[in-house]
């Protein structure tokens, strides 16, 4: 069996990059909590991870966010941002709910750290295998 670094790291590398993308989306929601007219965004993590995982050799690699996706083929790029449904938008059109965003940000940070731990375990494993310990 050929050892490939991609196989060793598994789904965790896509998960890590999605978590870091989500953390910047949530940070921009929190930054714009007082901006009139700002609509809170988020990504559908499950769908985005599925897409990132299935975009393999047959898909087009997108190196820029404005690249068009190929017909039929899957493309791996930054996950699509959706708008958050809000129960009580402000009068100025802002839909950021600070509590929801803070909870989502902490949740995302915990998941990021968990993914890091999984990745760290894999890296330790491969280092042990290389050294023959």
């Amino acid at each position: 069996m050929r050892l490939s670094l991609d196989n060793i790291l598994g789904i965790h590398q896509q998960a890590l990059s999605l978590h870091s993308q989500r953390s910047s989306v949530l940070a921009s929601n929190l930054a714009n909590a007082d901006t009139p007219g700002f609509k809170a965004r988020d990504i559908d993590f499950r769908a985005a991870l599925k897409q990132a995982n299935s975009a393999g050799a047959e898909g087009l690699k997108m190196t820029h966010k404005n690249h068009m996706t190929a017909a039929g083929g899957k493309a791996s790029g930054p996950a699509e941002l959706l708008y958050r449904e809000t129960s009580q938008p402000s009068l100025d059109g802002n839909t950021v709910d600070n509590q929801i965003e803070q909870a989502a940000f902490s949740d995302n940070a915990m998941h990021y750290m968990a993914t890091l731990d999984f990745l760290g375990g894999r890296v330790k494993g491969i280092i042990g295998a290389i050294r023959g310990e």
């Binding site: 990059s17 910047s24 949530l26 940070a27 007082d34 009139p36 940000f105 940070a109």
Partner: protein
């Protein structure tokens, strides 16, 4: 690396909230500043926030915030009869700004809460990045 964007985004918010705190401080400090003419009276300053996208072509991205401009609020100066005041006009009146101290303090609390939130976001992002750098060690 998206996590590095977090510093730009939260940093822009920190700067915007600092400007907001500055205007509140200025408004409260000048709440009692008297003048001899109604048009010279200090007007309360209010920052207007705007979302900044790094690339205007695409809405599918994260964004920071900036202060678009600082508006001076309309509002009639309050007239006060005080002939002994050194700035009193010929009829004995002085003019004071129409500043609502309560709403300024509420604005200050809101700004300081938002500032705290963004500091938390930054320190969380820093922890995540440091742990990422230590990966496999």
């Amino acid at each position: 690396m998206s996590l590095l964007n977090v510093f730009d985004i939260a940093g822009s918010a920190l700067s915007a909230q600092t400007i907001r705190l500055n205007t509140v401080a200025s408004n409260l400090a000048n709440a009692e500043t008297a003048s001899s003419r109604p048009e010279d009276v200090y007007r309360s300053k209010q920052p207007i926030f705007q979302t900044v996208y790094s690339d205007q072509l695409s809405s599918n991205e994260t964004a920071g915030v900036r202060v678009l401009e600082i508006l001076e609020a309309e509002g009639k100066a309050t007239q006060e009869y005080n002939p002994g005041h050194p700035l009193a006009d010929d009829t004995g009146y002085i003019y004071k700004p129409a500043i609502n101290a309560l709403s300024e303090v509420a604005n200050m609390i809101s700004a300081s809460r938002s500032y705290q939130t963004n500091v938390e976001v930054m320190s969380t992002a820093k922890q995540l990045l440091l742990r990422t750098l230590a990966l496999g060690k």
